[in-house]
């Protein structure tokens, strides 16, 4: 029998337990996102020296997806509830703001926060119901939600049915026509990222992450999981709804098959998965990569079927080989460059 004193064993047990805990990398850099934001704010100055409408459009488009993906990330990344039906809130925001714009001629940019709020309230109500189930059940219920909304929107004459509604076009010169939307999306994207960061580092965010790890344990340690989940759902719906609001006016029409196609929710999910679910920089990096990739694809190959194929393929490969996404995988191996560590 080994000769060990009892106190030694107790002390060793303490050390042993500590060795099992995983050390966290605390280094982060916040100057980088601020620098990017500053550059984006002065980017439209390019219009003074030539026609950069395409660059403006792509940046705006990316920013729109940054808003949506960051919003999705609050529910899907932090809380671990994967929704494949978040485009429902994109549609709600788009239609709410679009209808007011068409009837009362108030710009959607002004209405956007209200549209987001409407999406959040509807999200809260839907969440009260669907968040009672988890895992695959929740995912399937989110798919069913899109199908239900699609049928309802296509058959609701008041909002234009399947044909949708045309919205007025603004009367700015072509050179500057995109700018209001550009700044709206950049500001929304900045807010979405900032709010994600704030949430992640709040008590609320800690609760959400506990739910994602183990909901039952989270609940037994005193977290009101039901309230937390539903609030996370509402907040994420808020951002997606806001993006939808301005998107409709930018496109100059609202139509179910623009907002309620599965590809939109797939993109939100894929951006987060590719960039890194549950990280702050992940959705941003994912959005940039996926939009760039889509543009490249459409420009070279054209067909949307191939785009669907490629999107699916990227998603499968990411899930199989980098389930933690770019940021998550790099961080796990301690190789995340400091300028991408926004957490």
């Amino acid at each position: 029998m080994a000769e060990l004193a009892t106190d030694e064993i107790l002390a060793a047990r303490e050390r042993y337990n500590q060795s099992i805990a995983i050390a966290v990398n605390k280094k982060r850099s916040l100057w980088f996102p601020y620098l990017v934001l500053a550059l984006l704010l002065v980017l439209p100055a390019l219009q003074l020296i030539g026609n950069f409408n395409y660059v403006i459009h792509l940046t705006l488009f990316t920013a729109c997806y940054v808003v949506m993906a960051s919003g999705w990330n609050i529910l899907g990344g932090f809380t671990g509830y994967i929704s494949l039906g978040h485009n429902v809130f994109f549609a709600i925001g788009g239609y709410f703001a679009g209808m007011i714009f068409a009837r009362l001629d108030i710009s959607t940019i002004i209405i956007a926060p209200l549209a987001g709020l409407v999406a959040a309230v509807i999200g809260y109500c839907i969440g009260l119901v669907t968040l009672r189930v988890r895992g695959p059940s929740f995912i399937i219920s989110s798919l069913a939600l899109v199908m239900i909304f699609r049928i309802v929107f296509e058959n609701w004459e008041f909002i234009g049915g399947a044909a949708g509604l045309a919205l007025p076009v603004n009367d700015l010169p072509v050179q500057w026509a995109k700018l209001p939307y550009y700044y709206a999306f950049i500001v929304m994207a900045a807010i979405a990222v900032w709010v994600s960061y704030k949430i992640k580092h709040s008590k609320f965010g800690l609760g959400l992450r506990a739910i994602s790890k183990d909901e039952i344990k989270a609940e037994s340690s005193g977290i009101n999981t039901r309230l937390y989940k539903v609030l996370a759902f509402a907040v994420s719906a808020f951002f997606v709804g806001m993006a939808g609001a301005v998107w409709g006016e930018y496109l100059t029409y609202i139509r179910p098959n623009i907002f309620l196609i599965i590809l939109i929710s797939v993109n939100m999910v894929l951006m987060c998965v590719l960039g890194g679910k549950g990280t702050i920089a992940g959705p941003v990096i994912g959005a940039i990569l996926i939009i760039a990739f889509n543009e490249l694809f459409v420009a070279t190959l054209g067909a949307s079927e191939i785009n669907v194929l490629a999107t699916g393929l990227i998603m499968m490969l990411t899930l199989i080989f980098f389930p933690l996404g770019i940021v998550g995988t790099l961080a796990k191996h301690g190789k995340l460059p400091q300028f991408l560590n926004w957490d």
Binding site: G80, I82, L84, V129, T130, R132, V133, R134, G135, P136, S137, I139, I140, S141, L143, A144, L145, M147, I148, I151, N155, I262, V266, V269, V273, A303, S304, E305, I306, N307, V308, L309, A310, T311, G312, L313, M315, M316, L319, I320, P323
Partner: protein, 292 residues
């Protein structure tokens, strides 16, 4: 009254096909705990396997049923080896596999769309447009044949599961994977076989669907919610439950279609799925909420 009976008969005649479409989904979930969102897109492959020989040289779609089943079984085995096997020990297994099958559905849709375009297709053997008459009531031959074949295939599957050694292994793995492994079942092999069988069922269903519904690659999104609704209603993983769920929902959808209009008929499935998931996620016949 005649209208009511007629509607019910039409609904029930479709129920068998829905049951076959859903049974593979249910089997795969039962054994592997994979919610195969790609199932309907794979059924679509089966439908194309039946479509082209018919279109090009008028070959009877039902003859292509075994061919479609075998092709899809092979696809299933390959997919399992390449994709799902390595996920077996993943911490977020169920979430990962749902996302994977979702991505797979897009890959299949994209491939079919690229190869065959999004044109609506349907095979039209003679019986697809003929019917038996009983007094005022008619039973479409195509749907009747398809349902009978479906029921035969599902019964064969049920007998295989109940009495064969492999069937024991599959059922045991369904109920308790770890325990089955400890009793000497090679659960990985059982997973591979069940996945292949599940997809063979999808292939067979595809051949039958080819003369019942018009199809095009992106239609599978609608089918997935329809299939999920009946599988969830019957209790995920229970094949008998799936069959009952299929007949029940198919009949209800037919009634809704007749009395409220065709648009709302599809909505029946979606709302049913929603309600079942929320009120009784374990389904009508499940004992504990397996999906939750």
């Amino acid at each position: 009254m005649t209208l009511l009976i007629q509607t019910l008969i039409l609904g029930i005649a479709l129920g068998g096909v829905y049951a076959l479409m859903g049974s593979g989904l249910s089997l795969i979930f039962g054994v592997m705990r994979i919610v195969n969102l790609a199932h309907p897109s794979l059924i679509m492959i089966g439908a194309y396997v039946a479509y082209w020989p018919f279109r090009l040289s008028n070959i009877e779609p039902m003859f292509m049923l075994p061919v479609a089943a075998i092709i899809l079984a092979c696809i299933g085995a390959i997919l399992y080896r390449l994709v799902f096997e390595r996920e077996a020990r993943s911490a977020k297994y169920s979430e990962m596999t749902v996302l994977l099958t979702f991505a797979l559905a897009m890959v299949v849709e994209g491939m079919l769309g690229t190869a065959f375009t999004n044109t609506q297709r349907i095979t039209s053997p003679d019986y697809a447009t003929e019917a038996f008459f009983l007094a005022d009531i008619f039973i479409p031959k195509g749907q009747l044949y398809a349902s009978i074949i479906s029921i035969i295939i599902i019964s064969a599957l049920a007998l295989f599961l109940k009495y064969s050694r492999l069937g024991y292994a599959i059922r045991a793995t369904t109920e308790n994977r770890e325990a089955a492994e400890l009793l000497g079942v090679n659960v990985n092999r059982v997973g591979l076989i069940s996945f292949a069988i599940g997809l063979a069922l999808a292939g067979a269903a595809g051949a039958l669907v080819s003369f019942i519904f018009s199809f095009f690659p992106s239609k599978h999104w609608e089918w997935i919610v329809i299939l999920m609704s009946l599988v969830v209603l019957g209790g995920m993983g229970s094949i008998l439950g799936t069959v009952i769920g299929a007949f029940l929902l198919s009949a209800v959808a037919a009634l809704v279609g007749t009395y409220f209009g065709a648009t709302w008929s599809t909505l029946t499935f979606f709302i049913a799925l929603f309600v079942v998931l929320l009120v009784r996620p374990q389904g009508l016949f499940g004992e504990k909420p397996e999906l939750a």
